[in-house]
């Protein structure tokens, strides 16, 4: 072993985000990906002020929910989640919880796993030797050549 490094995760890769959303229980046909940001709609079909590049329409999010989206910053490339306050606190998704901080944390972890494997693969280290969820909520991943 010769070095280690700490990275503050930034969601920037749409493909990895889509895979993470699949890991969170959505199916591919429920996830819209747009090169130009598209409008989001509220629970009554009302047009909301926000636009997003990755969208899950309200009927797939939960009862009485709003569209859920991710918008890409044109300068930094960072993807930011757009989740209504109501969906964060009241809407129960098929994962059995709301779309609050715990859901965002789980999505971030799923994204980190998917993006790590994708990036490792690019350099010839895409073979997953071990992946485990630990008791403290962290995820351990070991990648090898292949």
């Amino acid at each position: 072993m010769s070095h280690y490094c700490n990275v503050e995760l930034e969601l920037r890769d749409i493909d990895a985000l889509v895979l993470a959303l699949l890991d969170m229980g959505f199916v591919r046909t429920e996830i819209e990906v747009h090169s130009e940001a598209q409008p989001l709609y509220g629970f009554q079909g009302d047009l909301r002020p926000e636009k997003a590049h990755v969208i899950i329409r309200r009927q797939h999010v939960g009862d009485s929910s709003n569209d859920l989206g991710f918008v890409k910053d044109p300068v930094t490339g960072r993807l930011t989640a757009i989740i209504s306050d109501f969906d964060q606190t009241h809407v129960i998704g098929r994962h059995g919880g709301t779309y609050g901080q715990a859901w965002v944390d789980s999505l971030s972890k799923a994204y980190a796993v998917r993006d790590s494997i994708k990036l490792g693969m690019r350099d010839g280290y895409g073979r997953v030797i071990k992946q485990e969820s630990r008791a403290d909520g962290s995820i351990y991943l070991r990648l090898g050549r292949g």
């Binding site: 070095h3 990036l119 351990y140």
Partner: protein, 63 residues
């Protein structure tokens, strides 16, 4: 020497990732993870372990 492997630990809140290389040293070790590090986000710290330093010194001494 065993094949290099990359260990990744994702924090419970998904905000930070720790990346460590095993079975590799020196510049090769840094090169191995550089693109993963910058691909995942913003590098906030890098720590070289004694193994890394030992290899560097051996190269300097020509041993």
């Amino acid at each position: 020497m065993a094949e290099p492997e990359i260990e990744i630990l994702i924090s419970p809140d998904g905000k930070t990732v720790k990346i460590e290389v095993i079975n590799a040293s020196g510049a090769e070790c840094l090169r191995l993870t550089e693109r993963i590090e910058f691909g995942l986000g913003r590098v906030t710290g890098r720590t070289l372990t004694p193994d890394h330093q030992r290899v560097k010194e051996r190269v300097k001494d020509g041993t």
